[in-house]
């Protein structure tokens, strides 16, 4: 199985990349439809495990320790496969 981890800035922390991209989309004619843009990163981890619960617990530890900086970032984990 694998874990798909999405990491992004917390709500309330200004996302300058999202803001700049939002502005660019506005100028490209998508102003009406675009409400907000947030930019994050996706980390895909292939796992040697078939136990979803164990996998989620381990990946949570990875997020807390390294993958996200919880001072400014949130993360969510999807276990697939």
């Amino acid at each position: 199985m694998k874990a798909i981890v999405n990491v992004g800035l917390k709500q309330g922390v200004l996302d300058d990349q999202g803001k700049a991209t939002h502005h660019a989309l506005d100028t490209l004619g998508f102003k009406e439809i675009v409400k907000d843009v947030r930019i994050g990163k996706q980390i895909i981890i292939e796992l040697n495990s078939s136990n979803e619960e164990e996998a989620r617990a381990e990946v949570t530890k990875m997020c807390e320790k390294l993958l996200a900086n919880t001072v400014i970032e949130d993360y969510n984990i999807q276990i697939v496969g």
Binding site: L9, V13, L14, D16, A20, L66, N69, V71, I72
Partner: protein
């Protein structure tokens, strides 16, 4: 005075830092990140600038787990003096030795130029030879120098005189160069033995470099 300067893959200011402190008469040793211990006679540990581990994941995020960092944590906990410059500051934030975090500059540009800084607090070793409100001209060179701390954390920094430097114009009026909360360019911990700043004082030590304002900053550690 013995100064240990850390070196990670991607560090690029270790020899500038060595040069600057040697010029001030210090004995300087560059320490590879795989070392388990920093030299026991270290009077000041410097984490210099650069792009440790290519800035992959986040600036400083991988360096903080290097072998040598455990020894740095112990050294700092015992009151040893630590100075993080640029990437070194980012590493200290990731390691939890200083509060807050770094984001990409709000302009999204890498900023490399001389910038003026205002001295905010001088009741610490680092800035003890500078004067409060003095304006220093020091180069900056970073992509991720947009300092973030929440409102509560900022109050703590202010209350404990932990804010060292803020970005300002030539006349000392504060300016926001990169999006940093409260225009912050450098801070220290509550105990005032761990210091971090984005600008590079080691690059402002000779007239030919354009400024010598960095000399009095680095000299603060030599007393």
């Amino acid at each position: 005075m013995k100064i240990s300067v850390l070196q990670f893959p991607g560090t690029n200011c270790e020899y500038d830092t060595k040069y600057a402190f040697e010029k001030l008469g210090c004995d300087v040793e560059v320490i590879w990140h795989k070392e388990k211990k920093i030299p026991s006679d270290t009077d000041l540990l410097v984490i210099p600038g650069g792009f440790s581990y290519g800035d992959y994941l986040r600036s400083g995020a991988i360096a903080r787990f290097a072998n040598v960092m455990e020894s740095v944590q112990e050294y700092a906990a015992k009151g040893g003096k630590v100075l993080g410059i640029c990437n070194g500051f980012q590493i200290l934030l990731e390691a939890g030795l200083l509060p807050g975090a770094m984001k990409r500059n709000d302009s999204l540009h890498f900023i490399s130029k001389y910038h003026t800084l205002k001295v905010i607090n001088t009741d610490n070793t680092f800035l003890s030879l500078t004067k409060k409100d003095e304006v220093l001209n020091i180069p900056v060179a970073h992509h991720d120098g947009n300092y973030y701390i929440d409102a509560e954390g900022l109050k703590e920094l202010e209350k404990n005189n932990q804010i060292l430097l803020k970005y300002c114009d030539k006349n000392g009026n504060l300016v926001n160069m990169n999006g940093s909360v409260s225009n912050i360019a450098g801070i220290c911990n509550k105990e005032k033995n761990v210091f971090g700043l984005m600008p590079h004082p080691e690059r402002a030590i000779e007239e030919i470099l354009g400024s010598t304002d960095g000399v009095n900053m680095l000299k603060g550690f030599l007393q």
